[in-house]
């Protein structure tokens, strides 16, 4: 959910899109329009038959305008009735106490009639450490404690005392309770910490690799994940993995570049301009992860990566899947099979793309791409462990009528 008005020279004149982003770039009156436009687009996706619509949490960030995704999700829960509401998610170590997440997610699950996908990210260093002041070396420990508290709050039938290191609560008693039992499906968005893989596998949670690096770069990372799945003796259901991918569909490949290139480039060349010092405070990453060699961002050549990408580089590099429905279908199918994905978070709204183009791309995908991608894992079609189980009969709110 990006702010669409970063200046042309943003990269030269500003240090970071995140944490210390210049507040004078935000215009609340324009924000009013922007929020409604983005929420309308998500509701439009519901009407086109997408399985889910998603929101996420960022703080002090000009490409993520949702410090509280639950507020957006609540709006979507009222105005949609079919798609899952994927909140990917709440950075649970930031909620004090995290029982707040158990409560708000339960509310969303109940309001939506059991359509909530509950995401629990450890959280980026920008959000958790620099914006919300959590101590880097203790963030993961605090996250695990918050996770334990929330899961127990949803499942234990009676009030209980929780004597944690970071949270002491004498009476934990989540009220209301989620519709989905024993709990809504849990998705863990991650960026490559190897501890997160094991955490997902051991708990049978979906691991969602969220980056803007595209499927070629994601391949190495997800291979590592699937190795852990095998090593821990779990089944290979593709629904254990999700992936975020920027997708632009047009009538022809040439049209895709003509329609979308400038907006995609706005995103990659402006919105991802994060001051490197905010990306990895000492102590945030575990020693195991550093030793695993995922240090690419520290190499000088990669610091220049997002400074001047061209459309061709973005498409060839797999950052973006763009083109005619046939092109997109072919590349998506390859990606889904190659990375073994049960779920793809499709990013149609990207950068400063205007509403009509977002809807054009979204509709073409729904009509001409999505149907062919639905049955790629026939042997796993009955695996419902990783998706929502809404109530058969649920309230569909009506739009307000004039009371006069």
């Amino acid at each position: 959910m990006p702010w669409p008005h970063l200046p042309d020279d943003f990269r030269q004149t500003h240090r970071s899109v995140w944490v210390d982003i210049d507040s004078s770039l935000y215009d609340p009156a324009e924000g009013n329009r922007v929020y409604h436009e983005y929420m309308d687009q998500l509701e439009y996706a519901d009407s086109l038959g997408f399985d889910g619509i998603g929101v996420n949490e960022h703080h002090q960030n000009a490409y993520g305008l949702m410090p509280s995704p639950n507020i957006i999700a609540a709006g979507l829960a009222r105005r949609t009735s079919r798609a899952a509401i994927a909140v990917i998610g709440n950075s649970i170590a930031l909620y004090n106490p995290p029982i707040r997440v158990a409560e708000e997610f339960a509310m969303l699950d109940v309001i939506s009639g059991g359509r909530l996908v509950a995401g629990f990210p450890v959280g980026t260093p920008m959000d958790t450490n620099f914006c919300y002041g959590q101590i880097p070396a203790l963030t993961r420990d605090k996250y695990y404690e918050a996770h334990e508290l929330i899961m127990r709050a949803w499942q234990e039938p009676k009030p209980f005392a929780f004597n944690g290191k970071y949270n002491q609560l004498r009476y934990v008693n989540c009220w209301p309770r989620p519709i989905q039992k024993p709990h809504p499906p849990i998705y863990i968005p991650g960026g490559g910490s190897i501890e997160t893989w094991d955490f997902c596998v051991e708990n049978d949670y979906n691991y969602s690799y969220l980056s803007y690096g595209g499927y070629k770069a994601g391949k190495a990372l997800l291979d590592g994940y699937w190795e852990r799945v095998a090593a821990l003796g779990k089944d290979e259901s593709p629904y254990r993995a999700a992936f975020a991918q920027v997708v632009c569909v047009a009538d022809t490949d040439a049209d895709a570049e003509k329609l979308y290139a400038e907006h995609v480039l706005y995103f990659y060349n402006r919105c991802l301009h994060v001051y490197l010092g905010f990306a990895d405070p000492p102590g945030y990453r575990t020693i195991k992860t550093i030793q695993s060699g995922k240090l690419n961002q520290f190499r000088a050549e990669n610091q220049r990566l997002f400074t001047s990408l061209t459309w061709k580089e973005l498409v060839d590099g797999g950052f973006v899947i763009a083109g005619s429905p046939a092109t997109v279908r072919e590349r998506m199918e390859h990606m889904i099979k190659d990375l073994r994905l049960g779920c793809v978070f499709l990013l149609f709204m990207i950068g400063n793309m205007p509403d009509d183009k977002v809807r054009h791309s979204t509709k073409l995908f729904a009509d001409k791409v999505m149907p062919q991608l639905r049955d790629l894992w026939p042997e796993w079609k009955n695996d419902d462990r990783f998706w929502v189980k809404p109530l058969e009969t649920r309230v569909r709110p009506e739009l307000p009528k004039n009371g006069r």
């Binding site: 001051y275 000492p282 550093i290």
Partner: protein, 263 residues
């Protein structure tokens, strides 16, 4: 300097640099750790029995997961002093983060030390003079904040590591993550764990030593320390930044010697 290894009653192991003879002096290093060269300690060893223990997370022994908050650090400091088996009460000296911990120790057990010297200690915060955020700085940005002379500071910090070599870089990042990850427990995001409300307990004779060109914790913080610790004297060090003990070791050593040997 000689090295010895100690183990505290809690079971935390630590490397200790040791040299000299005379009154015992325990030095607590800052967030950067002990360096290859410790010229201040060498100089002090001419008059004192110097001990410089390494904090958990800074050496090969691990154990940093056992230190989670300020009280853990301060008590570990006294555990180390106990493990050294000194015959007399020690002088405590702490640089930066080490000064913050030494001051806490001196507040908690205020009869257990002779004298206290704080070299540009962390631990206080002035809204009008925010301390630069060390945790968001890139390695090449540090020298300008830490040293009066950034050129030689840069050389000192790199310690001969070649950052274009991937293995050397990984090793450096692992070390840095452990060191500053540990330090972050008491310094992040703001290096203030409410020491100011406990400083009234500090009764040992106290010396503050401050580099005139300290850009990390600027000398105005010395005034705040003196307001909270009325008996504290202040020695200002010219041509020195936050790393005064490394930039002007002779001047710092002379100030410490005068203070510890004064009747």
């Amino acid at each position: 300097m000689q090295e010895r290894r100690i183990e505290t009653k809690r079971g935390l192991k630590s490397r200790v640099l040791e040299a000299g003879q005379g009154a015992p002096l325990v030095f607590f290093h800052g967030a950067g750790g002990l360096f290859k060269e410790e010229p201040l300690l060498e100089a002090l060893a001419a008059r004192f029995h110097v001990y410089a223990p390494e904090w958990p997370g800074y050496g090969a022994d691990g154990g940093e997961e056992k230190l989670e908050d300020m009280l853990d650090f301060a008590l570990h400091g006294w555990d180390v002093v106990d493990a050294l088996g000194l015959e007399r009460k020690p002088h405590l000296v702490g640089h930066s983060m080490g000064g913050m911990i030494a001051a806490e120790m001196a507040c908690i057990a205020n009869g257990a030390l002779e004298r206290l010297a704080l070299l540009a200690p962390a631990g206080l915060w002035l809204d009008a003079h925010p301390i630069p955020d060390l945790f968001s700085m890139l390695p090449f940005e540090l020298a300008a904040v830490l040293f009066a002379d950034p050129k030689s500071g840069e050389k000192f910090l790199a310690g001969g590591v070649d950052f274009t070599n991937m293995d050397a870089l990984t090793q450096f990042l692992v070390g840095n993550a452990r060191r500053l990850g540990t330090a972050g427990k008491i310094l992040f995001p703001i290096p203030d764990r409410r020491l100011s409300k406990r400083l009234y307990r500090l009764k040992a004779p106290t010396l503050l030593v401050w580099g005139n060109e300290d850009k990390l914790i600027p000398p105005v913080y010395a005034d705040r320390w003196q307001a909270l610790v009325p008996q504290a004297d202040l020695a200002r060090v010219p041509a020195a930044g936050h790393m005064a003990p490394y930039e002007q070791p002779a001047a710092v050593a002379a100030a410490l010697q005068r203070f510890f040997e004064a009747k």
